[in-house]
Symmetry: C2
Subunit: 324 residues, 2 copies
């Protein structure tokens, strides 16, 4: 059982690799557990840990030779996490197209060329929705992305669905809520603040919230995202029916409720480190995303959200807060 993770040196990629190495096995296409013999992390940088089963490939995933080298007939699972995040894809259109669209298609082509069709897991995003939206987005709500990132993710979804329908890959797309709380540093995602306003105060730093307190977000913790990726891989193809895309469960909270949860879990002085400074460019992107979606299908398929945002804050403290 060999696994490939693109964006493998990123926060989610590393965490997924660690979880897979810890659990040690995955079901094969017949549902039989098989030991994981190799995990290949593909990224522009190296991951910060090592394991006898870990291979690290550093390079450009738009390079066909690189993908052809790492995706082989022995590859059973490909987790495609590499992406240019929303803010950066908006600022650099061509880079977003190259990584979020061209590399995704190239990856599908490499999988198609394999004698044994691998399971391919794409991550997508709330950003595929936009425009006039119902209060709760449904599975059958039209995609109308209002950002280049959302457009590129929507296209990758369509490609993966058609490649799966044709039998070229056995694909699954998980539409991720905004992930909070991400550890580490702010990134160029428009939603970076959704982690920053919790992470920075807990680390004794001020944090700027660029959107209004009543802006509603649809959130999932890193713990639950990793569980969803592994669960998404493990589902039988038949369970997915006529669409390979699943809107993952999340919790719907306003930014004000997030800060209130921080105050409940960590105290008033910590929550007081959040400063409010409106940024219209970020607000425009974030406000175009749905604040909640119907998760009936995901629930039936066995995906699970966090209990509430207090739980998410506590999970960050347990998993990621550096020892004082």
């Amino acid at each position: 059982m060999q696994v490939v993770i693109t964006g493998g040196a990123g926060f989610l990629g590393q965490r997924l690799a660690r979880s897979l190495l810890k659990q040690g096995s995955l079901p094969d296409r017949n549902g039989q557990l098989q030991a994981i013999s190799k995990i290949t992390l593909v990224d522009v940088a190296a991951a910060g840990f090592d394991d006898a089963r870990l291979e690290q490939v550093i390079g450009d995933i738009t390079d066909p030779a690189l993908l052809e080298r790492v995706i082989t007939p022995q590859t059973a699972a490909v987790f495609h996490l590499a992406a240019i995040v929303s803010g950066q894809a908006e600022a650099d259109f061509d880079l977003g197209m190259r990584i979020n669209l061209d590399a995704s298609r190239l990856l599908l082509e490499c999988c198609r060329a394999c004698a044994n069709v691998p399971r391919v897991i794409f991550t997508s995003s709330v950003a595929v929705f936009g425009g006039a939206l119902p209060a709760v987005v449904q599975d059958h709500t039209a995609l109308n992305p209002q950002s280049s990132y959302g457009t590129q993710k929507a296209i990758a979804e369509l490609l993966l669905n058609d490649y799966s329908r044709k039998g070229f890959v056995d694909g699954r797309v998980l539409r991720l809520p905004t992930i909070s709380v991400r550890p580490g540093k702010p990134n160029q995602a428009a939603s970076s603040f959704a982690s920053g306003i919790i992470r920075e105060p807990l680390n004794g730093q001020p944090a700027i919230c660029p959107v209004a307190p009543d802006v509603r977000l649809w959130l999932l913790s890193p713990r639950k995202v990793i569980a969803a990726l592994i669960h998404g891989y493990s589902l039988a193809a038949d369970a997915l029916g006529q669409s390979r895309t699943v809107n993952l469960p999340g919790i719907s909270v306003t930014v004000a409720e997030m800060v209130a949860a921080l105050e409940r879990v960590a105290g008033k002085p910590v929550a007081a480190r959040v400063e409010w400074a409106h940024d219209p460019a970020i607000d425009r992107i974030i406000s175009s995303w749905p604040g909640a979606w119907d998760t009936t299908r995901a629930n039936v398929l066995g995906f699970v959200a966090d209990a509430d945002f207090d739980d998410i804050v506590r999970a960050y403290i347990e998993d990621d807060l550096p020892a004082a």
Copy 2:
């Protein structure tokens, strides 16, 4: 005022060119009528007519040099009609991707490189919908194509919307109903029979209907398609709001109703030339398409459907039936 039509030697392309040459002018971006000085038809073959204002370019629209040559800073309108039809795109996946996706993207890139952003009109299709559909598809119904053609058209829609949002082009996508009655010969579209069962009997030939009599189609005549293309070009960008995609009006009829209309207009012996021979592959594609969609938005924007199918049959007889 210079106009480019890809697929310009095809049935719609030629008819659009003739209509534009006849009307002689189009509004510019300020709504001022300007004389059409040149129409460039790009296709793999030559169109069967000539005009002093007509330029014919024969070549492959996936060739960047060709598109860069025909789309210039003087180009005000690009009607992108070139496509691999549904049945052929399903049979030859890579050809469909190359023409329906890669060439569309290349065309957008060529337009983006122009100092004066041209208006770009894409045609899309009922085939972008699929799976479990409401009886009447709404503007906000999710795309869930069940064919490679539908997938490629859906992707082109997303690209055109994002290129328009970014200001790279001033785009419009018209989602066409199935066109009936097309003149000429059957083609590899899964919906080819929707013209054939009217055209062949009127020309004294038998025609095979590969789907059940109660299959419902969403139809528009060639006359109304051409009018819609020109109207779609002429709309001000502001009128389109947050989506550049418009579901065109059509009429919703069953195949049995189409044959009944043929009998009313042309008589029982003509209608009796339709033979029923079920083809599961065609039925599967056609039945995944919506039989009707809500056209409120298109109506507000001024697009117009045919009155009924009898009218469509009569229009074919007037416009296209060869003199006996």
